[in-house]
Amino acid sequence: MATPRSTLQIRTSEDIVRVRQEVRARAIEAGLGLVDQTKIVTAASELARNTLEYGRGGEARLEMLQDHGRRGLRIVFEDRGPGIPDIDQALRDGFTTGKGMGLGLGGARRLCNEFNIVSAPGEGTRITIARWK
């Protein structure tokens, strides 16, 4: 079901650029159209930046998907940062604990077909997104 994986470290803001480039390359490989490519690249950009800024760095794992002829791309962002105490609040538009617009997390959910978030205070955060063709 799942084929080639690749793992990218997220330690600096240059790494976010690399995540975007890799996601775009994989999205093209998975046959996603221009709009879907842009959506998942943008979602990945938001989540990679969250991983860096709020999770104190972490990694992104990319995975090509294949399911009954459908193709897609799944990305898992994982950090060992402070975690999210209230996920519902974090997903609400306009809520931020930093200096951003507070749209990244909720926006990323709206840009993907699958969105899953696991987090607990002190234990880090894992967010999984997927976009299918």
Binding site: V17, R24, T38, V41, G100, M101, G104, G107, L111
Partner: protein, 295 residues
């Protein structure tokens, strides 16, 4: 200090320097001619390198390559490595220059020690450590040269990619290209604000055709730039928002409360209208000098 009893390396180097050099050069040459570097140049480097190595070993033995006696050799190594990196050699190719000296040295050590395996092993080990250290140093210098090249290119890109262009009296354009979420944004914003003052501009067009991804951070930077420009008395128009970017921004929930146009030419037309000017067609198209057709 427990120093090993008399290494035969110094005496070998003194007695057979020329043979070692010619064997080394033969090995370097066996890799075939290389049009990136002339044979004469390569031989000059090899002989200079060996000479400095012999002098250093004579002065302080093989162990202390960080010491002052090895200074001339280290400098030469850095120079050679730098020129190799510039000439387009790979790190392996660059390091092989040094590593290929091992065989001629081992060969001579074997002849000198004969059946004394213990002495031979000790000297081979000493030479191995020395040559490995020099080879690694070569790699490091190569790497450093490449990093310098990259840093210089980054600086060039940062300067190149933030031009503010005057389109008309009072109208500026800022074509943005590439990634916007780094320290570049600050440079971009400052450039634009300074140009607004300098050109007494009323309208600034920010064109984002060349920005591959517009996420919330990029949007936030754009909005801040627009707000700052407004405080300077200039209105902004954002152009070049491609259809896929527009859709993505809607899903993200970003509201750009800014006048925007699909492309730079529409934005320019709007800007001209704003300052009370228009582009009109003259009665007959004037042929442009040097082109075959009229329009």
């Amino acid at each position: 200090m427990d120093s090993p009893p008399a290494s035969r390396l110094p005496s070998i180097l003194d007695a057979h320097a020329d043979d070692i050099l010619s064997e080394w050069i033969a090995r370097l040459r066996s890799g075939g001619a290389d049009d990136r570097i002339s044979e004469v140049e390569r031989e000059r480097q090899a002989s200079g390198f060996l000479q400095r190595m012999i002098e250093a070993i004579r002065a302080s033995g093989v162990a202390d390559i960080e010491g002052p006696a090895f200074e001339p050799l280290r400098e030469m190594l850095s120079d050679i490595s730098r020129s190799r990196a510039m000439q387009g050699f790979s790190p392996t190719e660059s390091a092989l220059f040094v590593f290929s000296l091992k065989q001629p040295l081992f060969h001579r050590l074997g002849l000198a020690w004969g059946k004394d395996a213990e002495g031979l092993a000790r000297d081979v080990w000493a030479v191995t450590l020395l040559i490995d250290a020099l080879g690694l140093r070569m790699m490091e210098a190569w790497q450093k040269t490449r990093e310098e090249v990259i840093i210089r290119q980054q600086q060039e890109i940062a300067e190149l990619s933030t031009p503010v262009v005057k389109l008309w009296q009072g109208i500026l354009a800022l074509p943005l290209i590439g990634t916007l979420d780094s320290s570049r944004t600050q440079v971009v914003m400052e450039n634009l604000l300074e140009s607004i003052v300098q050109h007494e501009a009323d309208i600034a067009i920010i064109d984002i055709t060349g920005v591959p991804t517009v996420d919330t951070l990029v949007a936030q930077h754009l909005l801040k730039t627009v707000a700052a420009a407004r405080l300077m008395g200039a209105d902004c128009i954002i152009s070049g928002i491609r259809p896929q970017i527009a859709q993505t921004m809607v899903h993200l929930g970003v509201e750009l409360n800014v006048i925007s146009k699909a492309n730079l030419s529409d934005a320019f037309a709007l800007a001209l209208r704003r300052i009370g000017r228009a582009v009109v067609r003259t009665k007959s198209p004037v042929p442009v000098m040097g082109t075959a057709h009229g329009e």
